[in-house]
C-alpha cells in the first residue's frame, strides 16, 4: 500500500522527532496544502467564500481551543467570548485608524490579557468546576459586550468592520480574503504541529496528565496553565478578528454567544480531542449548516462510536494499512 512501511521504527533521534514519522502523512498534508492554495481556481466564488473560508477560520479557532483542551487538559466553555473580545478590539482599533495588521495583534493581545483571567479560575479549580466557571465567565463577557455601549454600540447594534487592508492594499476579492484566512490557518496549524516537539508542548502534556505530579517533577503547573490560556486566547482573538474581517464584515454580540462556544468545543471533539495532526484538513463548519437537532445527534454519536474523533479514525486506518496485508504484525 501507499504507506509502505511495516510499522514505525526509528534508528536515530532526528527520525523520532520528525514532524511526520510516516512519509505518506507528509505527502497527504502537502497535497491538501496544494489543494488549499489552488482552491480559488478550482471552486466557484460562492463555495469559496461561504464554505471554505469560514471553515479555515473555524479550524484555526478550534486548534486554538485544542491547545487548552487537548494539550493542557483545561476546560474552556467560554472560547467564543475570547474570540469576540479579539474581534471587537480589532474592529475598534481599525476604526480608530490603526492599520489592520497591527489591529489584529492588538485584538489578539487584548484577548490574551482577558483570557488569562480564565487561568486564575484554572488555578483554583479544575474539571467540572472549571468548566462551569468558564461558562459563567462567558455569560459575564456576553453581558458586558452587549450592555456596554462603548464596546458594542448598544444591545441591538451592529458594528460595521472596515475593509481589511494588508500592507496598504485593500483586500476585497473573494480569493484575497480566502488567502488571508488560509495564511492564518496554516500558521496556526504549523504552530500546533510543532508543539509536540517543544519543551512547552511536553510541559503542557505533563500538566494535563496530572498537575500535582507535574509540579513534583519541576514543571510549574500554574505558569504553564497561564501560558496555555494566554496563547490559546491570542489565537482565538486573532481568529475572531479574521472571521469578522473576512467573513462577517460586521460584528454583533450574537456572533460570539454561548452556543458558539459549544460549537467550537464540538469541533474539537469531532476533529480529534488532543491530537492536532489533521485538524487542518478536518473541521466541521458544515455543522453550522445542519439543523440543530442533527448537530446534537452528531456530537452524541461521535462520543458513542469514536470518542477520539476523526483524527483517531484516520490513525486507525493508517495503522491498519501500514502493515497490510500482515495484520498480525505488532504495530
Amino acid at each position: 500500500m501507499f504507506f509502505r512501511q511495516a510499522g514505525v521504527y526509528h534508528t536515530n533521534y532526528v527520525a523520532d522527532r520528525a514532524l511526520f514519522p510516516v512519509a505518506a502523512d507528509r505527502w497527504i498534508i502537502a497535497m491538501i496544502l496544494a489543494l488549499g492554495v489552488a482552491a480559488p481556481f478550482l471552486f466557484s466564488s460562492l463555495y469559496l467564500s461561504s464554505y471554505l473560508l469560514p471553515w479555515l477560520v473555524w479550524t484555526a479557532g478550534a486548534l486554538g481551543l485544542n491547545l487548552i483542551l487537548g494539550w493542557a487538559g483545561q476546560f474552556h466553555l467560554g472560547y467564543a467570548a475570547i474570540m469576540g473580545i479579539g474581534a471587537y478590539a480589532t474592529v475598534h482599533a481599525n476604526r480608530f485608524g490603526v492599520p489592520w495588521e497591527f489591529s489584529i495583534v492588538i485584538g489578539g493581545v487584548s484577548a490574551a490579557v482577558i483570557g488569562s483571567c480564565f487561568a486564575f479560575a484554572a488555578l483554583r479549580v479544575k474539571g467540572l468546576y472549571l468548566a462551569l466557571s468558564t461558562l459563567a465567565l462567558q455569560f459575564v463577557m456576553d453581558w458586558t459586550i452587549s450592555h456596554v455601549p462603548a464596546i458594542s454600540g448598544g444591545t441591538q447594534a451592529t458594528l460595521q468592520a472596515p475593509d481589511i487592508r494588508v500592507l496598504g492594499q485593500p483586500i476585497v476579492s473573494d480569493a484575497g480574503l480566502y488567502y488571508v484566512a488560509l495564511v492564518w490557518c496554516v500558521l496556526v496549524t504549523l504552530f500546533m504541529l510543532n508543539l509536540r516537539r517543544t519543551a512547552l508542548g511536553r510541559a503542557l502534556v505533563a500538566v494535563r496528565e496530572k498537575d500535582f505530579a507535574a509540579a513534583v517533577i519541576g514543571v510549574n503547573s500554574f505558569y504553564f496553565k497561564l501560558v496555555a490560556f494566554s496563547t490559546s486566547s491570542f489565537i482565538g482573538g486573532v481568529s475572531g478578528a479574521i472571521l469578522i474581517g473576512t467573513f462577517y464584515h460586521a460584528v454583533t454580540p450574537e456572533q460570539f454567544s454561548v452556543d458558539v462556544s459549544i460549537q467550537v468545543l464540538a469541533m474539537v471533539i469531532v476533529i480529534s480531542w488532543g491530537a492536532a495532526r489533521f485538524g487542518f484538513s478536518l473541521s466541521i463548519e458544515a455543522l453550522a449548516h445542519l439543523p440543530q437537532a442533527l448537530y446534537g445527534a452528531l456530537i452524541i454519536s461521535f462520543l458513542l462510536v469514536e470518542p477520539l474523533g476523526l483524527g483517531k479514525i484516520y490513525k486507525n486506518v493508517r495503522d491498519y494499512l501500514l502493515v497490510w496485508p500482515f495484520g498480525y504484525v505488532k504495530k
Binding site: V125, S133, L137, F139, V140, F212, A293, G296, A297, P307
Partner: protein, 295 residues
Amino acid sequence: MDWALLAETGINGSLIGLMYSLVAMGIVLIYKSSSVPNLAQGSMTMLGAYIVLAYSSRFGAPIWLAIVLATLSMFGIGIAIERIALRRLAGRPIIMILMMTLGLEILLRAGSLTIWGATGRPMPIGISDDPLFLGALLINRAYAAGAAVAIVIFGLFALFFRTRMGVVLRAISDDYTAAWSVGISVERGVALSWAMASVVATVAGVLWASVQGVDQSLAHLLLKGVTVAVLGGMDSLGGALLAGLLLGIVEGIAGSYLDPLLGGASRDLVDAAMLIVTIMLRPHGLFGRHDIERI
C-alpha cells in the same frame, strides 16, 4: 429605603428561588448517583412542559391527566437517556461526559422545537393571576404554588431516601464500587436517578411554564439550576433547596437595585457572578462533600 418593597421583593425572590431549586434537584439527583453533571436538565425541563402540552392539546386530555401521562413518559425517557447515551461513557474522562450532556441538551431542545414549533404557548394549570395579599405585601400565586410543590417534592425525596431503594441509591452515591461488590445493581440505581430527575424536570417544566409560557426560554433555566446546584453542593438535595432560596433572594433584591443602574437583564449577571464566587471561594458548595485528590 422602602422596607415593604424590599420585603416583597425578598419574599417573591425566595419563592422563585425555590422553583429554581426544582431544576437543581434534578441535577443533584443525577450527580449524586453517577457523578455526571447533567447539563441537559434545562432542556429536559422544557421537554417535560412540551409533552404535557402535547397530551392536553393533541389528545384532549384534561390537564391533570396530561401531567400524569407526561410524568410517566419522562420517566421512560430518563431511563432511555441513561441506557443509550450515558452508560457507555461510564469511566470516561469528564470532558466526554460534559460534551455528551451538552449534546443531549442541544438534541432535546432543538428536537422538541422541531416537533412542536417555537411559538410560545400558555400552560393553563388553573392558578389565578390575582396576587395573594399577605398584609401589605403582594405575593404571586404561581410562585407560591411552585415553591410549595418544591418543598413537597423535597419532602418526598427525604422520605424516599429512607426506603430500601433510597438506601440503595445512597450506597451508590457513597461509593459505587463498594455498592457493586455487595451486589447492588449500580446501573439500575443510576437509571432510576435519571428517571427521577426527568420526573422532577417535568414538574419544574409545568410550574415554570405556568409562569412564563411554554417556549425555548425554559431551557435557559439550566444556568439557574447549575448555579443553585453548585452553591448548595452538587450532591446535597437539602443544599439545593437552601441555595435556591438564597439565590432567589439575592437575585430578586440585587436585580431590583441593579436593573435601573445597568439597563436591565442584570439577573443573569447576578447568577453568573454567584456561580463564579461560589466556585472560587467554596467549590464544594455549602453542604457538598469535599473531594480529596490523590496523585
